[in-house]
Symmetry: C2
Subunit: 599 residues, 2 copies
Amino acid sequence: MSMIVNRRDLDFMLYETLGMDELLKSPRYSDYDRSAIDAVFDLAQSIAEDKFLSCASKGDAEEPAFVDGAAVLIPEIKHAVDAFREAGLSTTVYDTDIGGMQVPTMVDQALKGMFACANTAVFNYLFLSQGVANMLNACGSEALKIRYLPNLVAGHWLGTMCLSETQAGSSLADIRTKAEPLADGSFKLTGTKMWISCGDHQISDNIIHMVLAKIPGSPPGVKGISLFLVPKNRLTDEGEIGEDNNIVLAGLNHKMGQRATINCLLNFGEGGDSIGYLVGDENCGLANMFNMMNEARLSVGMAAVMCGLGGYLYSLDYARNRPQGRRLVDRDPTSPMVMISQHADVKRMLMTQKAFVEGAQMLVYYCARLIDQQKLAADQEQQQRIELLLDLLTPIAKSWPSEFCLEANKLAIQVLGGYGYTRDYPVERLYRDNRLNHIHEGTLGIQAIDLLGRKVRIKEGMALQILRQEMQTTLAEASAIPELASYAEQLEAALAEVGCTVKAVDMADNPELGLANATLFLHATGHVVIAWMWLMQALAALRGRSDGAAADADFYRGKLAAVAFFYGYELPKALADLRLVARLDSTCYDLTDEQFIGV
Amino acid sequence: MSMIVNRRDLDFMLYETLGMDELLKSPRYSDYDRSAIDAVFDLAQSIAEDKFLSCASKGDAEEPAFVDGAAVLIPEIKHAVDAFREAGLSTTVYDTDIGGMQVPTMVDQALKGMFACANTAVFNYLFLSQGVANMLNACGSEALKIRYLPNLVAGHWLGTMCLSETQAGSSLADIRTKAEPLADGSFKLTGTKMWISCGDHQISDNIIHMVLAKIPGSPPGVKGISLFLVPKNRLTDEGEIGEDNNIVLAGLNHKMGQRATINCLLNFGEGGDSIGYLVGDENCGLANMFNMMNEARLSVGMAAVMCGLGGYLYSLDYARNRPQGRRLVDRDPTSPMVMISQHADVKRMLMTQKAFVEGAQMLVYYCARLIDQQKLAADQEQQQRIELLLDLLTPIAKSWPSEFCLEANKLAIQVLGGYGYTRDYPVERLYRDNRLNHIHEGTLGIQAIDLLGRKVRIKEGMALQILRQEMQTTLAEASAIPELASYAEQLEAALAEVGCTVKAVDMADNPELGLANATLFLHATGHVVIAWMWLMQALAALRGRSDGAAADADFYRGKLAAVAFFYGYELPKALADLRLVARLDSTCYDLTDEQFIGV
């Protein structure tokens, strides 16, 4: 049993539920058929298991060191990243016109997931670079693209995002890094950037930083932020690695988890000039960065799912092979012990993990399919429609897994008991790794305000309306099937509750109070969306049960049980929270500092 | 602001809510008045801050090492334990007849809490020893007590509990450690014990192990388990430290948190005899051990609360002093930044922590008062009544904080954002430390079955009836006050739901299915009990608001807001879970191994 992927389930989600076959019929993906995709998955799985999973524990135990001004990683990490690149996997997501393999995004997310599950800390180096390449491709000048894009696409150079500063984490309006124009059109960057993941290392030939900074004289706040490409090493005229660009590693952060991901403080323009190049227009940096942020947020959500999946697979395997105790109804102490997967509470913990992880995993692939559909859209209207839906789902796809797949990781530890609490087993590391996902790429609180304060309001609630229409297809199909009709009814009611809540918040006199419980809204709406994801899986499982191989009966039975679990145990909780948000409860909002502690 | 205790709140809980003044009037506690207790608290707080808190981070970073067959700790830990002993704090809990200070248990829990909050990993050495001394005092022979008790009480020797073995964690029926009788009435112990906290170290002159083992020929299962006192070093006839007792440290476990607590594998009878002494009667070991286990479970719950409190105090202080961003209604990027405690979502996170931590803290002291009341009981009937209630509350007092104060720790990290995820701040350590509390001294699943399978059934539901009667006093008082009447109504309804759920489970044809969702019952019943704890605090806060100093107005306002929060945001969730347990949902229970994964 693989510890990083359930291939049977991957097929179920991609083909049986999301209709990948249909997608593959489009000319855009004509290079691929199912067997070609299987081959890519086989390759990815084998590299992820052999090179990434194998050093996950060591990378955690032997944290990056600060040696002579540089960050030094265990050598296995470079070997892993090299193997990934050499197998051509760096290029899967890009279009062929820039040197990519142009696989469907669904396939790309599925194969990247294996790496995120195997070793999320090393996966970070890869996904950040992909974001840099996509942003450069979308916003950069032709000249800049010619010089920087090919090596990013091929994976020879890795990249980073430099947004936060020590005094400005979530508050980008307050960044101070300065970009002064030079005569040749380039800029001189000075300032300190904090929390830079993958900010320094020797695992690629160069590092391409995407840096937010302010050009002197630009407007205050976010309207005066521009985006710059700043390489670790400058390039020669011929495009070869040239002299050092004076970006100094000022210190490493020592984290609870994801330790093999270097995270650091970088000083730009220390001891010499750090030369950078404007990407996109002046003062449009934040909007351009969001090209990358949205992608990064989906990737963070995916990584959170994969941390959860790692814990689920490991604890399931453990529970099936660990004898301990007897059934409650067996009072004979001389009878043989049973596997702990026989104990009801262990089953409950496994089912909770399954429902959270596989539900969220489905959302990851659903969002990936939206990206694919956007690329195939017949016209601009359809494209915009998909974009709105994706905008709406992004904060959920990032945050829901960060909350509930972390909960899954907590349960994985519990299944292993004392062993799970030791560093000899991977489940505690996965729990520590996953805890980051609510913090980076926009905190949970930021995502919540993004959803309730912005996304549900765009174009008079158009995004929510599109969500409702999309869900309607599933609801109509499920309503007609007796076994699923009550789920459809429950989901419909929950969705209506989301709508009522948004209306109530819209009518708040004090918009700040309206958003005071936005985080509850985010989690609860996430529950509604995940319930939808499970209903889609229920439909597919019923189809599979009637059409499929008898050998698959257990698989479909498990899927249907997870649906029953999510609707019975989880969805009802969302309703209570939505009502709370709707009544503009001000219990927390009204409190002052002094009242919390009383002294 | 102290990072380990809110003394104002401690006074509120102990005096204003739980009526400590009344307790102090009893002859048993005639040595103490409020000023004497304040002095003990001052002493405890200063040692806890100076000696325990100061090495918490170092003890985590520099884990115990295995050197030449022994476990070696950082020296600060011995200094801390020495300071605790030298201040006489080892003796607070014991009666004067065995050399103790005989403080009320409420006071003892409150002062121990400061140490648990400051450094839970070092606190473990102290609380385990206390359990050993109490068990020896309750069950040991006079001869054994004379030789071992004084040094345990004075804190010169520390102790451990040796229950688990590698093949038998939660399943004590399957332990294999053997105790063979010797001619002089002592026993020769052989076998391996796993997960032994504080099992080897040099911070006390001797270590007294309480070991479960089987005498050859004893019945199978738990009915054949006996309890033995096995010292690390044997004593000479004069009671001095004598020769080594051949208990070999076979390995250290490397944990996610609580790292300064040595946790190890011990081999008894390796390279020579390990001599032990029967404590209590043959084959009554488990019952005798439970004298200690119940106390240990309450201590674990208390420690879980204190980990939560540490995170709450730290994140509150941080939020009040960290500028970042602006109010949502302030669109001017040139206006000064506000402290993050002004942001609605940060307030929500602080309030959630407050409601969980202070609610659970109240339960800890309520249970402590029950122990005090038991000691002062007028007759056996009253004593038994209190014992039954304490039995019922013990699994809740252990598990609820382990779940919800861990959640509080998760939020404390979130308040600090990226900083909270680094090891430069204590909040991530507290989160890691707290994760153990669902595992040791009986896992969450074991506690759940204990509550729903045993405790609510004893004497035809007598314990639950007593709980109802005790709650009734609070309910009657609150119902008469308009500001609290709706809470009283809500609590009464929730309690009724608990009763209905127990009845439904009683009627299950399959008792195993009846208990399949026992964990949900435990959490939900915990919510009902904590709601009661908050209603008690609400009554006290209203009294305080009308009688108290004007300077305290903020304090009482905060308490009443926390009540509103718990009843508005949390208690409703419990009802949904209780109904689920009542309908004997078999979604998880019915599933087989194969169905989880499908392959």
